[in-house]
């Protein structure tokens, strides 16, 4: 996998588990986005700045959490097993800065993504990390073996039942034979 643009030192291995804060370039991106709104700049930039300052990610064994907000705080927690769609979007400004938006979807009814991870320079690696953990990817290799072992268990149980029946039959026959002799 080639290093993502903007990944300055290619030698450093990206470990998603250490991910906590977004990259500082996200603030620059937010600044550019706010500039596009012209005279509304402060009204757009201040909430985005607050979001950037308070944005925290937490990557755990079973799920991923994201929280931000100064006055109104929100925290989203998703379990990897429930992830069903991963959308990676990049507009050309984000590509220039090496950023991306990683939108994660579960099976909820909302049309908006449940979690939008922004400000990650190694978005491709993070996506592959999530892809490896999302449902339908991890357990599938065991599917064939699973089916086979199930059939195996069934055959075993059948054999055991027949064996027990044979033992009962033999015991009864011995009883009858013993009775006859008496």
């Amino acid at each position: 996998m080639d290093p993502t643009p903007g990944n300055r030192d290619g030698t450093r291995r990206f470990d998603p588990r250490n991910l906590e804060r977004p990259d500082p370039s996200l603030l620059k991106y937010y600044g550019l986005v706010s500039l596009m709104s012209g005279p509304m700049f402060p009204f757009v930039f201040i909430p985005l700045y607050c979001k950037f300052v308070t944005l925290r990610y937490r990557i755990e064994d079973e799920g991923i959490a994201m929280s931000y907000g100064v006055l109104f705080r929100r925290e989203v927690y998703l379990t990897y097993q429930r992830i069903q769609d991963i959308h990676l979007t990049r507009n050309f400004v984000q590509r220039w800065m090496g950023l991306a938006t990683l939108a994660i979807q579960t099976a909820s009814g909302s049309a908006m993504p449940e979690m939008s991870i922004e400000g990650i320079q190694e978005a491709d690696q993070l996506r592959d990390f999530l892809y490896a953990k999302m449902r339908g990817v991890r357990g599938d290799s065991a599917l064939g073996e699973d089916a086979a072992s199930r059939v195996g268990v069934q055959v075993d149980a059948e054999q055991r039942a027949l064996q027990l029946l044979a033992e009962i039959r033999d015991a009864l026959r011995q009883c009858a034979a013993a009775k006859e002799q008496n």
Binding site: S110, A111, M112, V137, G139, D146, R150, L165
Partner: protein, 248 residues
């Protein structure tokens, strides 16, 4: 003359791509999907039929719009000659430039759209300015639809839409392009084959696509005593028991 012109166009187009790749960081290679060594990975692009279909729509729209624009311009020349002649460069620009841009955009879209299908998941990429890559695993797919309009049928292409659980958006092609719960494989020439391949892999996943764990899905195994061997043994047991009772 024909080949020379084609070569020049191809050369210019390649230059445009190189500029996009260099300055706008448009990825030059198809998307990668992590996969196992034995896994079969299929890479699809928009079919030739899609190109013909979109170009046909382009020429029709171009004809209608340009006829209207030229008519308006001629009217202006007829009634206010000095103004009509003065805006000649502007009028020509308005008539020609959008057509050229739209024509280039069609080809860029044709070359930048990728559908990568592995044995476990699919990754769909589209877009130049706003690049979007969707990853959906087969385990999560709820249904697969194939849409085809009359014009698309004429050009031999269809749209395959893959849906996962969750709401939002409509059911059409445009909704699928924007929805977060759908994947759109647009302009596929072998839609039946693609659909069958997707469905085959979906059917191999036995979950309901809602995050069941495999170990929890395993049901307790019960042995039935309906096999011929079991019935024979049971008959023998009954016979032995009968005999024993008679003796008592």
């Amino acid at each position: 003359m024909e080949p020379a012109r084609e070569r020049t166009t191809a050369w210019l187009y390649k230059g445009l791509w190189a500029a996009l790749v260099k300055w706008f960081r448009v990825p030059a290679t198809p998307p990668e999907l992590p996969h196992g060594p034995a896994e079969h990975v299929e890479r699809l692009q928009l079919s030739r039929g899609w190109l013909d279909y979109v170009k046909f729509k382009f020429w029709v729209a171009l004809f209608v719009v340009d006829v209207l624009l030229i008519a308006a311009w001629f009217c202006l020349i007829w009634f206010v000659p000095w103004l009509g002649i003065l805006i000649t460069p502007l009028a020509l620009a308005v008539i020609v430039v959008p057509d050229v841009l739209a024509y280039i955009a069609i080809h860029l879209r044709y070359d930048s759209t990728w559908y990568v299908l592995s044995d476990r998941a699919m990754r769909l990429r589209r877009g130049i300015w706003f690049l979007r890559e969707t990853t959906i695993s087969y385990d999560n797919i709820q249904n697969v639809r194939v849409l085809q309009g009359p014009l698309e049928r004429h050009f031999g292409i269809s749209n395959v839409i893959v849906e996962t659980a969750g709401g939002g958006g409509g059911t059409g092609k445009e909704a699928a392009m924007m929805s977060m719960h759908m994947g759109l494989l647009e302009g596929v020439s072998d839609a039946q084959g693609v659909r069958d391949r997707i469905l085959e892999r979906v059917q191999q996943c036995r979950g309901a696509g809602l995050g069941e764990r495999r170990d929890r899905m395993r049901e307790p195994v019960q042995a039935t005593l309906a096999s011929p061997a079991a019935v024979l043994l049971l008959e023998e047991i009954a016979e032995a028991a009968q005999k024993l009772r008679q003796q008592i």
